[in-house]
């Protein structure tokens, strides 16, 4: 064998091992999806903190030959935090540390709106059963309707790990698309007159109430529904750190450093769970459709309940705030503020919408707990 043959053979081997030779239609589609998501996140500002890590994870895992998810690869180990259900509760500590439950404590009735918006979860669950998913898979898919990424992931890891990638992508995509999906539903189900209703200013909430709140919620919810205890407990733990002055240093870490670190790890883990062979299936399409359906129904039932409260209180409640009952915090509340101001520029519904919005977080965690207690 002369030098030329060796050289040609080496080049041939190199070419055969390169990613280009292994590219197939599935990989190309997934790379395009990743690029579109990156574009939406970076150029259009759709939830960049979540979508950039997820989209980049999708991109990485769909570059053939990378082996990042194979045993021994980086994401094989990092994904254990997601597969074992560790990251979502840790995210909840950060969410709790960033959330002010004051508007909810000031107006506890807004919890009803948070409950009403969870109906979408159970309707989508029935829809998924009708399509032919197993009850466990249907339960995991339904949770997308809560518009709560960590809860969806947590439930999927416990009930349907095989659908995790599709469920996570659907949940986070719809969370990012809250400003696009919700307004038409809100307008369709409310009258112009009701959308213009100005609500009374909320009462001030004392710091003692804010400190007692997370403790009470943790005890009562966990005793009632132990399977919801992990998520609700971590959420309330984070919130307690925020409210107690002497733990403000921990709250700062939870809401900044910890939250950012876990978001990166969770985002990349979710992204890398969407390899072309697992993601490009008819099931994924079904999950995306059901997720959207659940989200629309959740928004709708929240607004309908808002209408009921509006009529029962003699037009003191603006029904739009019901849409914030889906838990996408704080996007859903911001959408309520925006739609309300389009009708009446002097109307400020943001704080009123934050009540149902944070109630939605608790509500979706409870709904997930119900599903887990029945099907795990």
């Amino acid at each position: 064998m002369n030098t030329m043959d060796v050289l040609v053979q080496s080049i041939a081997n190199f070419a055969a091992e390169s990613g280009f030779m292994r590219l197939n239609f599935g990989y190309i589609v997934m790379i395009v999806i990743a690029c579109v998501l990156l574009y939406l996140a970076i150029a259009k500002g759709f939830e960049p903190l979540l979508l950039v890590p997820i989209a980049f994870g999708i991109l990485l895992v769909n570059l053939p030959g990378i082996g990042i998810k194979d045993e021994g690869g980086l994401m094989y180990y990092l994904s254990l935090g997601k597969d074992l259900g560790i990251y979502p509760p840790l995210i909840f500590i950060g969410v709790g540390a960033m959330t002010d439950f004051g508007p909810l404590i000031a107006n506890p009735k807004s919890l009803l709106l948070g409950a009403a918006a969870q109906i979408g979860i159970f309707v989508a669950f029935l829809g998924a059963l009708l399509i032919g998913f197993t009850p466990e898979q249907a339960a995991a898919i339904g949770i997308i309707g809560g518009a709560d990424g960590p809860t969806s992931i947590y439930t999927a890891t416990k009930l349907a790990p095989e659908l995790l990638g599709a469920i996570a992508v659907a949940a986070y995509s719809y969370m990012a698309l809250v400003p696009v999906i919700q307004p038409p539903v809100m307008r369709m189900l409310t009258s112009k007159e009701n959308r213009m209703i100005k609500m009374e200013q909320l009462r001030p909430v004392s710091s003692t109430e804010k400190i007692v709140f997370p403790i009470i919620v943790t005890i009562s919810v966990t005793l009632l529904l132990p399977s919801a205890g992990t998520l609700v407990g971590m959420l309330m733990f984070g919130n307690l750190l925020k409210e107690v002055k002497s733990t403000s240093r921990l709250a700062e870490v939870a809401s900044n450093g910890l939250m950012s670190t876990i978001t990166i790890l969770l985002g990349l883990s979710v992204g890398t769970s969407t390899s072309a062979d697992k993601f490009l299936t008819v099931e994924t399409l079904g999950i995306l459709c059901l997720g959207l359906f659940a989200f629309v129904i959740g928004t709708g039932t929240g607004v309908v309940f808002g209408n009921i409260m509006c009529n029962m209180t003699g037009k003191k409640v603006n029904p739009l705030i019901g849409a914030a009952g889906v838990s996408a915090v704080p996007m859903a509340a911001r959408v309520v503020q925006k739609v309300g101001q389009q009708e009446n520029p002097s109307n400020f519904l943001l704080m009123h919408a934050m009540g149902p919005n944070v109630a939605g977080v608790i509500g979706s965690a409870i709904a997930a707990g119900v599903m887990l207690s029945i099907y795990s």
Partner: protein
């Protein structure tokens, strides 16, 4: 179909449980709010109030200088702050009306 019927019972139980849990929270929040409100009220009542005998001191009559506020100056300040936040200059903004709310 049996899956769907079993699922329907999950549907009912699920919605019921979510509402029960959140109704329970409403009751608890209201009770805690009342208890804490009462405790804080009692604290303020229990704080001994030392009677203060008003001591009349001869008041010095100091004539405070009357500050004449120039509305145009305020308009200029507001406009420049808005311009700064919009990343533009004041000459590109037009203030059409300004109303003082008392």
């Amino acid at each position: 179909m049996s899956n769907f019927m079993a699922g329907f019972s999950t549907f009912l139980i699920g919605i019921l449980m979510v509402f029960i849990a959140l109704l329970l929270l409403i009751v608890l929040i209201q009770c805690v709010g009342k208890v804490i409100g009462n405790m804080e009220q009692q604290k303020t009542v229990a704080t001994p109030v030392t009677p203060v005998t008003p001591v009349m001191e001869p008041k010095k009559v100091v004539e405070e200088p009357v500050v004449v506020v120039d509305d145009c100056e305020i308009v200029a300040v507001i406009a420049s702050v808005i311009a700064l936040s919009l990343g533009t200059t004041t000459d590109k903004l037009q203030v059409k009306s300004l109303r003082r709310i008392r």
